[in-house]
Symmetry: C3
Subunit: 663 residues, 3 copies
């Protein structure tokens, strides 16, 4: 058993701790309650800049010293935040040019949080100075276990269009393209008289009379992700220099934001951590949670990761902030653990009495400890202690879903055949369908190592470079199974169409040539010859060299292939030329997984989630999570770490309950 | 009989008169028609600044002299407007810094009306100079009966975010808080690193990356109301100095806008006057009218007030400006009179031929006097003369509905448990339910004198200071009945949560402790044990010391109290933990009013409105307004002032008709 | 047979050709394919400014010389564009003050297209210089057949609110009004204290606190149309000076945009040309296409015109860009020809591989020539060659629909009786109803020559000057039939109400006096005495001197006239006081056309479009277009130019097919 955070000797448990909102008397109560709940890790200082540096260059660490010592004294480790996400009013007031500006030229002011331009030199200098001070002061503090750089990069300020950002964008473009000629070619500026003749002419895609240049837009999103990552690296490098042995993280928002290229981010983090909140109005939000966990694990390269934030109950920022039902927070936490997290932390320890997030639930609610929430917090702490040996184990998957942020950004641009042809929702649908079939999936980048997967799915991969197309072909040629959804492989990395028939990048691999898209009107559907129903999309084309499993059965594309399969030795390339509802998608993926020899983790009733973690030494842990309102039985055996009981099959799992079988 | 406007010797009747839109020949026709219609009071000069002062410091009063004289000659009194609501183009062009700026930094230009920043010194100076001139010139004019300061303060420019406003906001804050430490505490700036270290750092809540500071937002709304009130006081003080015997008013928009703290405004007006327009698409708009009248009366401290504007038929600013049915304008006018108005004026005398409001109906319509509208105008004039003796009498109510503007502003902010948990609509629903039960209600501020009410309702009172909470407790302890709706008493005057269990400010008074809110999803409902159906909201809690009259009957809060009652001697404190549709709310309030001994004005069929006015000498006037399409009979007696007939019970009241019984 | 474009000796066929997006090798393939398809006219250089003038004053014509020569060598004529619609980045970067600014003060940047202020002197100078160069260089080029000024004026930048535009607006107003007094009168500035006392006070209708001045808004729209027309004239005059024999056009967007007063534009064009795209989600889009063609023909004064752009299949800018069904593009093209076009061109020749319009279909699609699209392009070229003799013939119509852009702008402003009382949609409905009845209609301006029409329809003509009202009266008095829809003739050219009863400008002509509008609520309807159902609108009024054919049958306007007719000698003036759905409108127009002696072109089954073109020498061409999914038979004879077969009645016309009978 080895924890992600070495000092913890097990799973991490705790939350964001913001002592500056409370009096020192409350701090003493806090640490006592933390011990009662089994908390071993808290994040401190996320929004403390104004308290740590109340005036330029004047640092006040006294209060934080006291908090750190108090936590150390009570055996609680600290994930110490650099506090750079929210510059203090004195800073923004002195440097209004550091405030972000939107595409309409509207300056966004301080008074909430994250009010800074990521490219601002003065912001970066001030942040670096604070980090240097913090790292120096707490380098040897016994409570320090992890560095928490910034907070949720890109939350609220993913893109800035100010003149400073414009200059940084030009620098980034010079690095990417070298010459203006190459940039003009990549951006297709022959269209609409957009050719640039000097670097200084180039701007972010600000408000413009009509559709902006698509590649300019795409490159700007790439730049924005890189620019925030540069902010992270700046802080991380300081921390590494001063405390080379303390791991560094920043909390991502995987599956909540799609604005940053998290594949690049994952590589830069010592510990990948993630924040996840349920979308209350979504009846499938527990599946969305699993997707977030699977994606975070994939961003971490399969290594254990840390759930940095989730909520004990309601949040405050949705239209209707539904509270969690009894047991729901526990299932949520344990699902993250099941899918590879080595710890589960909440935002935040004590619910605020004031401010914009005062109605966000905490571990200690407004009502205090005589409450459902507190009792569940204590119980979860106990559960996690029982699961200590799970720490360090990993999750294995036979299926990968391809996900490329650049492709998502390009696919979800305007001026495309159909606004319904979104990427993220389709990726969610395919993941959801696998979830229902009991199959654990990783996410993968098309340029990543796919060889360990029996099956690779590309639900929506509009952008595909020649290099990545070749990688997919190799994967199939070496025996893999690939399923490609419609409107994939259409354009190259610069968003130029692969000519000669769609999908240009995959035409030969799939044995299909499409000549014209026939998107459907809102709500329109089209019958398929195999009884399924196409939605959103149809196409006019033919199978040049593939087996046609279904055709469109009516209208102007009648007879065109809707589902094809081409064998390449033992490898298989499937193509589906339309979109399905969950039922039809389930049938398709059932056919595909069966053909690829992919099996569910265990046979379990509908609504019961089953995931397995494994240690290199062979010990495995089967997590069984009953999301239904009924008690179920499952044919499994092993020792349930949560109850300590040994199960002789079948296991009876009550409604809403969880079992973790050591096998 | 004593009129609100002493010279009128009865009820006021007339409208806005804008002679500058017409030629002097039309003026002569106007006064003749006014006499025909029984008009005795017109508002002159509301938008005359550009005509009165065509260039800086150059005043042209000749035309107005002529109009004033003409009116005086025909026995028509004037409510003389100061004309400061719409600065002329020459002013705004010379002083662009006086134009308002919105939260996005967008300057709003002249070309419509109300294009000024309320804090602008140059605007205030120019307005004051004009008022000084007007008051001096017409101080002794025989037509002058009332001063009409400005027009609909806050209409279109309730909030300005410019630098001038920012400075004024800081001045206001310094006065409120004294020290930055106190401000930081009140605003909860420990959250999100928002601590201010110098006054000049503080800004209005301009566009910011995410949720602004809630207390900053709340204080800004308080400031904006105060700042406009300051504009009013500036003009009023000049008028009082020059014409100490002429009463001063400004026309409020009670129940149309909720942006200004009209409790504070009411105290500053010699005569409270109000503008009210029906919302055409609302089938209950006649009840909304009654609410507006009840609220205006309450703002006037129960004294008679003046209906400054309503419409003879359609307005121009709604999506579909439905005309009034025959008789509807008469019922509207007489309802205002019934609920305490001592006069009914229209916007405007003669419908404009040009400009943005040309499709707003007038007393003289585009079609001229051969029209339904004109005939109704003449009839209403006659009716009001018949009711002359009603002037000066007042309305009595046994029930008060609590209404606190600060609480509304705080409750309707973002980032709360549910966006459906609005305040204004709920207050309307409770008032509507009383209306249907035939019960007349006042509105009251939680800090006001409640002792004269048998029953006090708090449908939505999110914000409650310790002082006001104590006042409510005193009211109950002294025998009053109080009904509290959900999400009331949650936060203090700075929008800090009352900790320890909701509703913190009222927990002991109600004998209820709630630990967690469970808002419902859109459209979701929850059954109650008493057969009612909860909407929008449910909660997890328990009765600590109250009788549970109904519980939530399903879901995660099953068993938690939904309706409770706690006795305090002869006083009673009810709590309702969810929201109802009109039917269930009717049953609840029927139970409550019966227990409190509150009775309807008279027993009348559904849809017949009954309100009583009373002179100190005991004479009373029972207004009966038949809103139905059927003739009805009502067991009442008295002399009908409108027909002159003496009624021996029962009264037969035709569909759509009105009777006013002197009793 | 004489073609619109003299050199063509027949109908024009081709598209926008943008060689700068492709390599010279592709150019050679292009001209070969053009010949294969029968292309004889291509538009070159629409977005070539950045390539023609890569730096200020440095011109590079070499590539265009090569393209022009290549086209000439292959017998393809060129519609040479001036390229001024999209200034290059170097220009906008050097002259940011030339960028457009919206009503909110937001500057719109370059990076898409049309990013210029139409009033910008520096833009106009740069555009003029380029035109001078182009005209000089290609004046004698054998390929040059037509000048294509700019592109789709007003697309994306119809209105600019910057300070430069403000000054130009003032200049325009001085010309229109001469004196400030006249402007103040026309704008009705007595209302809301808006009187101007110096020209420099006047601004465009920028963002303002509430409803702007309606006449200011209306005049600003007139100004904006004139200002763009001035841009056109500037270029045209240069071209005429240098190449007096080459006709000049600019491509309008008739029936797509309503922002420009195209009546004024039509008079300035040597050849009227138009762009038209189907609205995919509209099931009646083929009727909308006919409307666009009828309107373009009318703007051209009945002369042949040119379809400058349409699409072979899908476009890229709608929410769902549905592809065209097989045969649909052909029907579309031939419908334009049927309705007076002497050529049909597409945007664009070769579908782009990059840029914002890459998913816009072309004549050569992404898939290449092995495609449905290419085969249809070749077939259409052949069809058009078969129809060569049609060139120069014209379309005759007995019915005119009145359309006045100023009236549309005024009618669709805010602050009117009902937002549902739109003009354009109603004009479309009346045209659609005639289409279904097989009746070809022109559009006409109320000030135009109406004497040649048996029937004139005024579905929505809110604004009507005394002069135009008199013209309509003359038309009726001379025996014409006029049908007037509700809310017509309400205001004069300055948007001042015609007083004394609606519709003031037409009261005597119609014999109707309306005293009050009673718009209906959303979705509300009102029964009429003749069994029809009124929508959106009802009125209180009476027939002063007209036959009442139907009354409103319920509610407050029961008994008021809904449909009237007044005879003036042999002339007739109908009035309809409400709006109908298509069925009731069909019955009304059937009654009206029958009374006026208007007959369909031929008797044809529903869904079959029939239009006749005629040469002065008496040869006629009956176009029959079967829009249905069924084969039909029609009693007609003549020689079908498309098949070469002579038809002895009846003609059997297959589903989706077209016949053109020489008769």
């Amino acid at each position: 058993m080895q924890s992600l955070i070495l000092q913890l000797a097990g799973l991490g448990y705790g939350g964001d701790y913001n002592p500056e909102q409370w009096s020192p008397e409350v701090w003493r109560e806090d640490v006592a309650l933390m011990r009662e709940a089994g908390v071993n890790l808290v994040t401190v200082g996320v929004f403390s800049w104004a308290f740590l540096e109340p005036a330029p260059g004047r640092y006040e660490f006294g209060w934080l010293d006291e908090v750190m010592d108090l936590l150390a004294d009570h055996g609680i480790f600290v994930d110490l935040a650099t506090g750079t996400a929210s510059p203090p009013p004195w800073f923004s007031h002195a440097h209004p040019e550091s405030l972000p500006v939107d595409a309409d030229g509207r300056r966004l002011w301080y008074g909430s949080r994250q009010a800074f331009c990521p490219s601002s030199p003065v912001y970066r200098q001030a942040a670096a100075a604070l980090v240097e001070q913090l790292a120096t002061r707490y380098a040897d503090h016994p409570a320090l276990a992890l560095w928490h750089v910034h907070n949720e990069y890109g939350c609220h300020n993913p893109r800035c269009y100010c003149d400073v950002s414009a200059a940084a964008f030009r620098t980034w473009l010079r690095r990417r393209y070298g010459s203006l000629d190459d940039l003009n070619r990549a951006w297709g500026t022959a269209f609409w008289s957009q050719r640039y003749t000097a670097w200084e002419q180039i701007l972010p895609p600000r408000a413009t009379p009509t559709f902006p240049n698509p590649t300019q837009l795409l490159d700007f999103q790439r730049f924005c992700s890189d620019e925030l990552l540069e902010c992270y690296r700046l802080e991380r490098d300081i921390l590494r220099r001063i405390t080379p042995d303390v791991p560094v993280t920043t909390n991502l928002m995987a599956a909540s934001t799609w604005e940053l290229d998290y594949w690049a981010w994952g590589r830069e983090l010592d510990v990948v951590s993630n924040d996840h909140y349920l979308w209350a109005a979504d009846p499938h939000n527990h599946i969305g949670l699993s997707l977030a966990a699977d994606l975070t694990r994939s961003l971490a390269g399969g290594r254990p990761w840390l759930l940095m934030e989730h909520s004990t109950s309601a949040v405050n920022w949705q239209p209707r902030n539904v509270a969690k039902k009894p047991g729901q927070a526990r299932r949520n936490s344990l699902t993250h653990i099941a899918r590879g997290a080595d710890g589960a932390l909440f935002f935040q320890w004590r619910a605020s009495a004031a401010g914009a997030e005062k109605f966000h639930s905490g571990m200690v609610p407004h009502a205090g400890t005589d409450s459902k929430i507190w009792r569940e917090v204590v119980r979860l702490g106990s559960d996690l202690r029982s699961l200590a040996e799970v720490a360090g184990s990993t999750v294995e998957a036979d299926v990968a879903i391809l996900l490329d942020y650049s492709s998502i950004w390009a696919q979800e641009q305007d001026s495309h055949p159909s606004r319904d042809m979104t990427a993220v929702e389709e990726i969610r649908a395919w993941h959801r369908t696998l979830w229902r079939a009991g199959i654990t999936a990783d996410f993968a980048h098309p340029g990543g190592d796919l060889s360990r997967y029996r099956l690779v799915l590309a639900p929506a991969l509009y952008l595909l470079s020649a290099e990545h197309a070749a990688a997919l072909a190799s994967y199939v040629h070496e025996g893999g199974s690939l399923v490609v959804g419609p409107f994939s492989g259409i354009a190259d990395e610069n968003d130029h169409i692969w000519l000669g028939g769609y999908p240009g990048a995959l035409r030969d691999l799939l044995g299909v040539r499409v000549e014209e898209f026939f998107p459907l009107l809102e709500g329109e559907t089209i019958p398929l010859s195999n009884g399924a129903t196409g939605r959103i999309w149809s196409e006019l084309g033919r199978a040049t060299d593939a087996e046609v499993l279904a055709t469109f059965a009516s209208g102007p594309v009648a007879g065109s292939p809707a589902l094809t399969r081409k064998q390449h030795g033992s490898g298989t390339a499937w193509y589906v030329a339309t979109r399905f509802d969950d039922d039809d998608l389930g049938k398709l993926l059932s056919q595909v997984t069966e053909a690829a020899g992919v099996r569910p983790t265990v046979e379990a009733p509908a609504g019961v989630e089953a995931v397995r973690r494994r240690h290199p030494d062979g010990r495995t842990y089967l997590f069984l999570i009953n999301h239904t309102d009924d008690d179920v039985t499952i044919s499994v055996e092993g020792k349930d770490l949560l109850t300590g009981r040994t199960i002789a099959s079948p296991l009876r799992l009550p409604a809403g309950d969880v079992a973790v079988l050591q096998q």
